[in-house]
Symmetry: C2
Subunit: 82 residues, 2 copies
Protein backbone atom coordinates (compact mmCIF):
# COMPACT_ATOMS: atom_id res chain seq x y z
CA UNK A 1 0.00 0.00 0.00
CA UNK A 2 1.24 3.45 -0.84
CA UNK A 3 0.28 6.77 0.66
CA UNK A 4 0.33 9.55 -1.91
CA UNK A 5 0.34 13.12 -0.59
CA UNK A 6 -1.00 15.51 -3.21
CA UNK A 7 -0.66 19.28 -2.82
CA UNK A 8 -2.91 21.33 -5.09
CA UNK A 9 -2.19 25.06 -5.22
CA UNK A 10 -3.41 27.98 -7.28
CA UNK A 11 -1.02 29.04 -10.02
CA UNK A 12 0.95 32.17 -9.36
CA UNK A 13 -1.03 35.20 -10.47
CA UNK A 14 -4.43 33.59 -9.86
CA UNK A 15 -6.41 35.60 -7.32
CA UNK A 16 -7.10 33.82 -4.05
CA UNK A 17 -10.04 35.49 -2.30
CA UNK A 18 -10.15 32.81 0.40
CA UNK A 19 -6.50 33.45 1.21
CA UNK A 20 -7.12 37.19 1.26
CA UNK A 21 -10.01 36.71 3.69
CA UNK A 22 -7.83 34.62 5.98
CA UNK A 23 -5.04 37.21 5.83
CA UNK A 24 -7.49 39.96 6.80
CA UNK A 25 -8.91 37.88 9.64
CA UNK A 26 -5.41 37.15 10.94
CA UNK A 27 -4.59 40.84 10.71
CA UNK A 28 -7.66 41.76 12.76
CA UNK A 29 -6.64 39.12 15.31
CA UNK A 30 -3.36 41.08 15.69
CA UNK A 31 -1.24 38.84 13.46
CA UNK A 32 -0.14 41.73 11.27
CA UNK A 33 3.13 40.01 10.43
CA UNK A 34 1.30 37.74 7.98
CA UNK A 35 1.61 39.48 4.62
CA UNK A 36 -0.02 37.02 2.30
CA UNK A 37 -1.98 33.79 2.54
CA UNK A 38 -2.54 31.25 -0.24
CA UNK A 39 -4.95 28.39 0.25
CA UNK A 40 -4.71 25.05 -1.47
CA UNK A 41 -5.80 21.48 -0.99
CA UNK A 42 -3.94 18.63 0.63
CA UNK A 43 -5.20 15.23 -0.48
CA UNK A 44 -4.03 11.87 0.82
CA UNK A 45 -4.59 8.85 -1.39
CA UNK A 46 -4.14 5.31 -0.10
CA UNK A 47 -3.33 3.29 -3.19
CA UNK A 48 -2.80 -0.39 -3.84
CA UNK A 49 0.44 -1.18 -5.68
CA UNK A 50 -0.05 -0.73 -9.40
CA UNK A 51 2.16 -0.62 -12.45
CA UNK A 52 2.68 2.91 -13.72
CA UNK A 53 1.73 4.36 -10.37
CA UNK A 54 3.20 7.78 -11.08
CA UNK A 55 1.64 7.98 -14.50
CA UNK A 56 -1.76 7.17 -13.04
CA UNK A 57 -1.37 9.67 -10.21
CA UNK A 58 -0.62 12.36 -12.79
CA UNK A 59 -3.76 11.42 -14.70
CA UNK A 60 -5.90 11.44 -11.56
CA UNK A 61 -4.65 14.94 -10.79
CA UNK A 62 -5.27 16.19 -14.30
CA UNK A 63 -8.70 14.61 -14.59
CA UNK A 64 -10.19 15.10 -11.16
CA UNK A 65 -8.07 16.38 -8.30
CA UNK A 66 -6.81 19.64 -9.80
CA UNK A 67 -8.12 22.12 -12.34
CA UNK A 68 -5.16 22.46 -14.71
CA UNK A 69 -6.38 25.86 -15.93
CA UNK A 70 -5.82 27.61 -12.61
CA UNK A 71 -4.14 25.05 -10.36
CA UNK A 72 -0.92 23.12 -10.22
CA UNK A 73 -0.02 20.10 -8.17
CA UNK A 74 2.86 18.25 -6.61
CA UNK A 75 2.90 14.90 -4.90
CA UNK A 76 5.01 12.58 -2.82
CA UNK A 77 4.67 8.82 -2.71
CA UNK A 78 5.57 6.91 0.41
CA UNK A 79 5.11 3.37 1.62
CA UNK A 80 2.19 3.03 4.00
CA UNK A 81 1.70 0.32 6.56
CA UNK A 82 -1.96 -0.23 7.28
CA UNK B 1 10.45 36.77 5.19
CA UNK B 2 9.39 33.25 6.05
CA UNK B 3 7.13 30.89 4.19
CA UNK B 4 5.08 28.71 6.52
CA UNK B 5 3.45 25.64 5.01
CA UNK B 6 0.49 24.55 7.12
CA UNK B 7 -1.21 21.18 6.57
CA UNK B 8 -4.63 20.84 8.16
CA UNK B 9 -6.11 17.35 8.20
CA UNK B 10 -9.13 15.71 9.75
CA UNK B 11 -8.35 13.69 12.85
CA UNK B 12 -8.34 9.97 12.45
CA UNK B 13 -11.83 8.60 12.91
CA UNK B 14 -13.56 11.74 11.68
CA UNK B 15 -15.72 10.98 8.66
CA UNK B 16 -14.60 12.63 5.43
CA UNK B 17 -17.53 12.72 2.98
CA UNK B 18 -15.57 14.86 0.51
CA UNK B 19 -12.79 12.28 0.47
CA UNK B 20 -15.32 9.49 0.04
CA UNK B 21 -16.88 11.30 -2.92
CA UNK B 22 -13.47 11.70 -4.55
CA UNK B 23 -12.67 8.04 -3.97
CA UNK B 24 -15.94 7.00 -5.61
CA UNK B 25 -15.34 9.35 -8.54
CA UNK B 26 -11.82 7.97 -9.01
CA UNK B 27 -13.23 4.45 -8.87
CA UNK B 28 -15.78 5.22 -11.57
CA UNK B 29 -12.96 6.71 -13.67
CA UNK B 30 -11.27 3.27 -13.46
CA UNK B 31 -8.82 4.11 -10.70
CA UNK B 32 -9.98 1.25 -8.52
CA UNK B 33 -6.57 0.94 -6.88
CA UNK B 34 -7.36 3.99 -4.73
CA UNK B 35 -8.77 2.57 -1.51
CA UNK B 36 -9.24 5.68 0.56
CA UNK B 37 -9.02 9.43 0.13
CA UNK B 38 -8.69 12.03 2.88
CA UNK B 39 -8.98 15.71 2.06
CA UNK B 40 -7.33 18.49 4.01
CA UNK B 41 -6.17 22.04 3.54
CA UNK B 42 -2.76 23.29 2.54
CA UNK B 43 -2.18 26.89 3.58
CA UNK B 44 0.89 28.98 2.76
CA UNK B 45 1.60 31.96 5.01
CA UNK B 46 4.18 34.58 4.07
CA UNK B 47 5.26 36.03 7.37
CA UNK B 48 7.58 38.88 8.37
CA UNK B 49 10.24 37.88 10.90
CA UNK B 50 8.79 38.01 14.38
CA UNK B 51 9.89 36.93 17.82
CA UNK B 52 8.10 33.78 18.95
CA UNK B 53 7.26 32.86 15.39
CA UNK B 54 6.43 29.24 16.18
CA UNK B 55 4.33 30.14 19.18
CA UNK B 56 2.32 32.60 17.07
CA UNK B 57 1.87 30.09 14.24
CA UNK B 58 0.46 27.62 16.76
CA UNK B 59 -1.97 30.24 18.00
CA UNK B 60 -3.05 31.16 14.46
CA UNK B 61 -3.77 27.50 13.76
CA UNK B 62 -5.72 27.03 16.98
CA UNK B 63 -7.70 30.25 16.62
CA UNK B 64 -8.44 30.42 12.92
CA UNK B 65 -6.80 27.99 10.52
CA UNK B 66 -7.89 24.69 12.02
CA UNK B 67 -10.84 23.50 14.04
CA UNK B 68 -9.15 21.74 16.97
CA UNK B 69 -12.25 19.66 17.68
CA UNK B 70 -12.03 17.67 14.44
CA UNK B 71 -8.79 18.74 12.77
CA UNK B 72 -5.09 18.59 13.47
CA UNK B 73 -2.29 20.51 11.85
CA UNK B 74 1.39 20.37 11.07
CA UNK B 75 3.60 23.05 9.64
CA UNK B 76 7.05 23.68 8.21
CA UNK B 77 8.84 27.01 8.29
CA UNK B 78 11.28 27.91 5.56
CA UNK B 79 13.09 31.06 4.50
CA UNK B 80 11.41 32.77 1.57
CA UNK B 81 13.06 35.11 -0.86
CA UNK B 82 10.52 37.52 -2.33
Amino acid sequence: MYKVKVYVTLKEGVLDPQGKAIQQSLSSLSYQEVEEVRVGKYIELFVEPHEQLEERINKMCDELLANPVIEEYQYEIEEAVR
